[in-house]
Amino acid sequence: MTTAVDTATEIRPATGAPRFLSRIDVGRLMTHLSLLLLVALWTFPTAGLLISSLRDKDQLAVSGWWTALTTSESQAVTRLPTADTQVQKDGKWVITGNVFGTDSNKQLGAFGTSNNEPAAAVPGASLPMSDGGTITIQVDGSFVWSSDKQFTFTRAPRIFYEVAIPPRFTLDNYKEVLTANGVARSFLNSFTVTIPATIIPILMAAFAAYALAWMRFPFRGFIVALVVGLLVVPLQMSLIPLLSMYNNIAKFFGAEDGKTYLGIWLAHTAFGLPLAIYLLRNYMAGLPKEIMESARIDGASHFKIFTGMVLPLSFPALASFSIFQFLWVWNDLLVAMVFLGAQEGKLVLTGKLVSLLGSRGNNWEILTAGAFVTIVVPLIVFFSLQRYFVRGLLAGSVK
């Protein structure tokens, strides 16, 4: 091994560069680096979201997610307790407490009594207060404000300080979005919409696909063309008439409006059908002709061939379509907003996320955690079933 390499390098013409440099293939290195850069560009936004969602919300608001592992410094202000909390101790009047409240994670860098001098004293030192006495604050934020005379102030003074927050990762943001912000309910709603809408179209599409692939009848070519055409028809063309239709049906039955889960299941079923039929038909048409023909000669009916042979053989195509339909329904916003509405109890995850963007637009701890809850299920489906997804993609783009 080593000798082979040595002879190889000896053959090279001697240059001024060190020997090991001449072994590096510059072109190949460029390929590695370019791809690395592109992959970084494609993954960093998502990584930033995930890391941010796990950070302490005070840190998230003041420092970038790429500094998540470093201690962040910031300035803060806290109002001291009122005079009625004072106690008499060793002949002095004392007010005690902690400027950080109950948060024990932070560290005090310096403190002061005015906005202009937030770093007038180091932790452990004392400063005179305008309301009388002196205050001493420790690194952990605990303070003792003592005076010889009884405190009589009516408005509690403020303390300005520099605080260092060591890196802290927490699931608190997730706890908050799932409970306080109703994301858990939306999570359930998304499943309620998605699972039936994925299962219902499959059998229907499979029978139709078989007919279009292996049966001879008039207008077959026309129906295939119709399916190919409907693949690209914008959903916007369907929304208004369908909504009117649903509302009329609801009125007939005396219901308030036509926004039901049944309505959205059927709508998603229909909107998924062109792709389902197209994918399955292409796949079934590719099954070997000889098997079909010999089965026909043996007297098997189309129904028997379909249920006994074609359907089991088509499993990969059925899996591809199911993944597509699942991802598309889960990620859909438009159909859900039109047919399920924006009522709080009926919002799916995408709708919920949009409403959070509107109401909590600056609370990144809520938005990042909410967004991650929204995308985690598709990501799991995607990474575990990527093979079928890719196969479906290759078959589904009109060749």
């Binding site: 077959r220 070519g221 028809v233 369907s238 889960y261 049944l262 290759l394």
Partner: protein
Amino acid sequence: MSDIIQQIIGAVIAIAIALAGAVAYFWGTNWLLDRFLSSNNATGDEITRRDNVRSQIRPWLFLFPALLFLAVYLVYPALETFRLSFFDKVGNFVGFSNYLWAFGDSNFQQSILNNIEWLIVVPFFATAFGLVIAVLADRLWWGNIAKSLVFMPMAISFVGASVIWKFVYDYRAAGQQQIGVLNAIVTGLGLPPQAWITLPFWNSFFLMVVLIWIQTGFAMVILSAALRGVPEETLEAARIDGANGFRIFFDIMIPQIWGTIIVVWTTITIVVLKVFDIIFAMTNGQWNTEVLANFMFKWMFVNFDYGRGSTVAVIIMLAVLPIMIWNIRRANAEEGTR
């Protein structure tokens, strides 16, 4: 709590009814057909006649449920939307005046202009990045991992992607600590931070980035498969003739996968024409970022003017139509070769 249980039970029942219903329908109609048009008791020509009738009817039994859904949910609404585009808000026939209104409306003109920008920029960059990544990844041992990561945004909803990128574009006033990556880089270079989403003219491009980020994975997968179909001999021959990497890429590879590039391009074009969620979630059309799909949604659900809403939908449909016709013609041509 009880409404949650009710909701889950409802979903389970729906799945059960749908599956049982489908099985009952397909099995039942098939059984009825064989039972009542059986050739068993017939003789001579009657057997052939009945066989023929059965094979004439059976395809339609297979197709009926799917065709019913397509007709009710896609074909009828499309025709109805077309009809509604000639009526006003309260249902009076107004001829072409909705269309005349649209072309005179400044927001509509803005949407058309933006859509044209999107149509040029997004398919180009998504296809180009997809192609470059496919070519690079196929030459490296960790290429499959790279492809998987670039492909990942395909699984993320447009709304989720919007939040991800809104975080990248986050803006804090100058002097404050920037928590958005883009502004952190910009201020790191000594330039003033920008509110990217409201930046005139350029803000649309920052929204387009979101869709490019999502669609590149699609382009990459399709083009990667096509590249694997390029015969090795042609590349080898070019190498022997002394062509460098760039020449091989542009003169040998690209011409051979040109058909696939067009397919990828047109598929992304259709996604772009329908794009709604990204604009709705990030700007809702403010700061001159309006596009047709969001504009249509506003006329439908904010102004409740179904006539004008339908008009905008028809205009989106007209833009899709050439690609649709082209797809159908190619599908027909392929059908002919089978």
